[in-house]
Symmetry: D2
Subunit: 369 residues, 4 copies
């Protein structure tokens, strides 16, 4: 229940205010150079306290790899890792010990388990996504060997949104602003909106777009292993995610087939059908409305998809709620919280995509002798 | 790769033009009355040739249960079942043996496996969803014992759409029109649009909404077992699905937290936290923007979600494409096809939801001693 | 719970007296020639009524493949199959409807499920192993492409036993006698013992030895995927199996390390470490006490192991037992039963070994990029 | 590949000479008191350096629980844990960097992964079993709530063996001698044999017997989930294990059915068929040759089984071998090693049994509504 993937797997553990957050990556192919600086860099992209529009919680979030790497390379053994929690203010949460915060997991965890670690959201905290970023960084190190790249960005905050077509943007600009948006003008607007919302003690939602380049054809399996369904499950597992679409998605539901079909055209290269390496082929597509996946299997085009995030449930304003005994309470949350999850969700989206693509790629190796 | 679920599982087999389509349901609790007429009835809802707006392929689609039922009750043993394919026109597909139809799975299957059963879409045909409907009917028979009901309907065809709020509709009306839409006026409009699109040899997409009532709190697991992620994966695995959202979904990404949070109010009943039965509780929610799931775990409210479907890729008009040798070809598809997948997708959405909810319910039984 | 394997999987269904017994094989690599005559031949080796020392139940046991094969080759899609039950004498079992037969699964199934299909042992019947033989035959067809062979034989019946060292026997002689024993003299003794036991209405146990030749080094995974543990689980899942050992097994527990260690010697060939094909290497082993597996991973030597089977529980003599109400009953079983499971267990052992080796082989392909 | 179990799972990581060894336990039921002193106590039973007949490697092996426990109780969240490696003498292994030690995993790991952590056996070291002992202790804490107990002991060292019938021994005496043998006289003999073997630089094998008391009827699933097959897989996954048998095992293969069948007798208590709690019943067994499991499902009697261990492969004497380049080498191992794995294997056997029984128990809860 806390394990992602089938061959490349991540099992996570940890709570917001426990001793540490971490996990075990199993199925890492052997012989891959493990660049620990890169892993830490990815983690730093998710770290709290990066800018004025993220939470004030400041933790170094230093990852320690405990196993599976020998003389700089993966050995094929599982990679255990952890990040110590160092800056918990557990007392900030004493007031909510017996309360259910609105639209949090407080009530559902209590219903499910009959017990709940109320400190900082416990197991349901977004803090636990850092394990995913570590595993995603490892997956990226493998994919890099195959020239597969994964890039996500903030494409909507509140009602400020980019064009759906990701090809219109220069993705190298994403990290140049705190919102992680490739359109500098929109980025400024988004940042201003988040700052304003924060000042009001409120929060705001948005959308992350993700693009996978260099993915070979043949990834994804029929029925329960369709590539977009695996990506969807991975994305929807991220805290605060409320929706997933790929290709033309919900908008394309209003189209006709004659508009949405991607026509094949002849191409010059010679045919190549291996499912292991990015392919040249004797055909190409006129359009990519399908989003790089047809019948649940990658077709060699760019894969792109979008993930909707709701506004963060923790508001720095008075809210009505009920305590365990059923009495009404007015709640004033303290603690340090993000007014908008989007900028820090970007590396998590990338991480989940990297793990999913790598897992599908490994499985596809067994499709033929 | 062809198995859904963890404890209540369905493994499917079959191709559009093979001998039979079927599957194995494992994990069916013992002692459940198995109403075979109900199973056949569910299958009839998915059957081709129901009305003028579905495909002309006519098959009786009689399901045979081969095991796991004794004297009318489930025994706990796996339930094998099959439906013979009886009305294949495989010759209709001879022309496309060496072609890749646009936006179908032809090219991706060929890339993946180096071989492809071209007849009627083979393994990628929507025909194979009938196995899911059989398994979903079995799941419904279990959920019925717990007063959990699942109802889906067509909420959008092309640009004709219903209000997002499913509470506005009388769900008992859904089966009274061929579109399976609870708004009789909109249903007529949708039917007319589909008929027109069919006449043009074109196809059209849409959206299915699904509502789960009576689901107890406590279903869904942290991290990889979040209930909405499992539902999302299940829905996205349905042929032609392009997007999934629950609660306020993509629209809610533009909202503020103060708008989207669901406030708890005191309720009169005494506290009850069992995760096994629909619960009374000492609190209730003012709104249900969350869609019945918070932190990935059900909260006892109605669960609702939406699934986007693209227009069917098979057009009854000339299309450009490329053959295996890389030569351009003008293709004229024959065969019998749906101009709009929505009406027949409704029972498949329900089936996948029933399986997912039952599986989560069984797992939740192990959360405490 | 009814699925074997991780990548090459078999999900089975069926009861002794239900409509059919069958299963779904998923993960069959694409492009493999599927020799249906070979599959039927393997099934015939397991068929009842082959000789005077097996059960008198006579069924043709014709297998029908329902999917996953196109123009004689596997397509990568799941292979559904079934064998109709045609010669049930369910009335033979009316007397035991309310009884628990000693050392059968009657009482445990009833305890577990609260319901039981009493006819012919229901789900617990050895008849359901035929699904395994079909899947094993498919696995053998894949392994044949890689020159990996699997051969089992009866090495003990009662107290008549062969030498432990399988290299002493000509394995091509196994099918020349009804006991499936490579030593013609011992085979005769075993056959006489079984015939005598049958006449007394009693039954007798024994041991099957299995040898895998041509298996490359590198199969099996650390911890939960050790090759011998996977083989052990597969063998112990066969009806009436009571023990498993590989290499020197239980006997070797009395040895010293200096006796049991397998010494490496230089060999002439050049080094080769690929885990995908049978390897030449620059070393060889002086002995093979390890049984071809070291640290849970194959080392390229012959893999050999032994499986103990208890005597069949169904006796054709009066036995004391108790009915559901707790009353003592003297039971006289009718029906047609094997006096010794060994001869017909041989193809089942081979089938489970073939599936296990193929599954491990597919997984090992993902150990490196 | 490094994960055990289906609902109660353990994922392990770590190498002999890495930073730490640990794991993640997922599926721990919520609300269980977590007695950390008991967990440490179990780990101390496995610790090196306990007596003159175990390895001289001395490590405190202090376990740190990192998550999943709040105010002394399990929360239902995964329990991450680790034990730091503190006393590695990695230099002891420099000589074997390019050698393959006989009957170790050196060659097979190298064949599989193309890279190998040679220090202390790396991932293949018996040191990594400590993760299992921690997880097993957690499982025992759950089983204790249900009055299920698990006890293992050394029943054979070399050719010194106990009677097969575990009922003949007073199991409370096991911990009173360093061999963990309930027969004080045999324990002395075994200890002397191990000491002698150690002095010779040699090693010796043996057998562990394990008994599960209080296990309710109904645990274990048909086909791939048979309880004895799960126990077998768990036991065979322990380092140096070579065989597994339950009930009368290999010896019983020579018996007749009329000897081995367990006859049911009437009992006084009223019928009870729940699969969740130890049961009273209206029947009892005259004998328990079956070993508490019939048809793969527990019957409420004591479960007992035996595990064969080969002699440790590391000898403190000169051995011939080959290096990576294929040259013959005479190898003299230094390092600190057990002359006999048995005494320290006892707690590992118990741990694997506890995990397996608990997992089966959780699954059995979903057999009926």
């Amino acid at each position: 229940m806390n394990t992602f993937g089938k061959l490349f797997t991540l099992t996570t553990f940890g709570e917001s205010h426990g001793a540490a957050v971490g996990g075990v990556v199993d199925g890492m192919p052997a012989g891959i150079p493990v660049d620990t600086a890169f892993i830490q860099h990815e983690l730093d992209r998710r770290r709290p306290g990066q800018s004025r529009i993220t939470t004030d919680r400041r933790e170094a979030d230093r990852v320690e790899l405990l196993s599976g790497v020998f003389e700089g390379k993966s050995t094929g053994a599982p990679i255990g890792f952890l990040v110590r929690n160092t800056n918990q203010h557990s007392k900030d949460y004493d007031d909510i010990r017996n309360l259910f915060r609105p639209s949090h997991a407080d009530y559902t965890y209590y219903s499910k388990y009959g017990i709940r670690d109320h400190r900082g959201g416990g197991r349901a905290s977004a803090r636990i996504t850092l394990s995913r970023v570590v595993a995603g960084a490892l997956a990226k190190l493998v994919l890099r060997q195959l020239d597969i790249s994964i890039t996500a960005y903030t494409s909507q905050v509140g009602d400020i949104q980019l064009d759906r077509d990701c090809r219109r943007y220069d993705l190298s600009r994403i990290e140049s602003n705190p919102v992680r948006c490739p359109d500098p003008g929109k980025a400024k607007e988004m940042e201003a909106l988040i700052a304003q919302v924060k000042q009001e003690g409120d929060t705001i939602g948005g959308v992350v777009t993700c693009v996978v380049k260099g993915c070979p054809a043949g990834l994804g399996e029929p029925e329960s292993g369709k590539l977009h369904a695996l990506l969807g499950a991975a994305m929807l597992s991220i805290n605060a995610a409320k929706g997933f679409e790929y290709g033309e998605g919900f908008a394309g539901a209003a189209w006709r087939g004659s508009q949405q079909n991607d026509i094949f055209l002849p191409a010059k290269e010679k045919p190549q059908t291996s499912n292991l390496k990015p392919q040249t082929s004797n055909l190409k597509l006129q359009t990519n409305h399908s989003g790089g996946i047809q019948g649940g299997i990658s077709n060699g085009e760019d894969i792109y998809f979008r993930v909707a995030f709701k506004p963060v449930a923790t508001l720095l304003m008075a809210q009505q709620t009920v305590d365990k005994a059923g009495h009404p309470v007015t709640m004033n949350v303290r603690g340090r919280h993000d007014p908008c999850v989007l900028p820090r969700a970007v590396p998590v989206v990338e991480a989940m995509a990297a793990m999913t693509i790598l897992d599908a790629l490994l499985i596809s190796r067994t499709n033929r002798l």
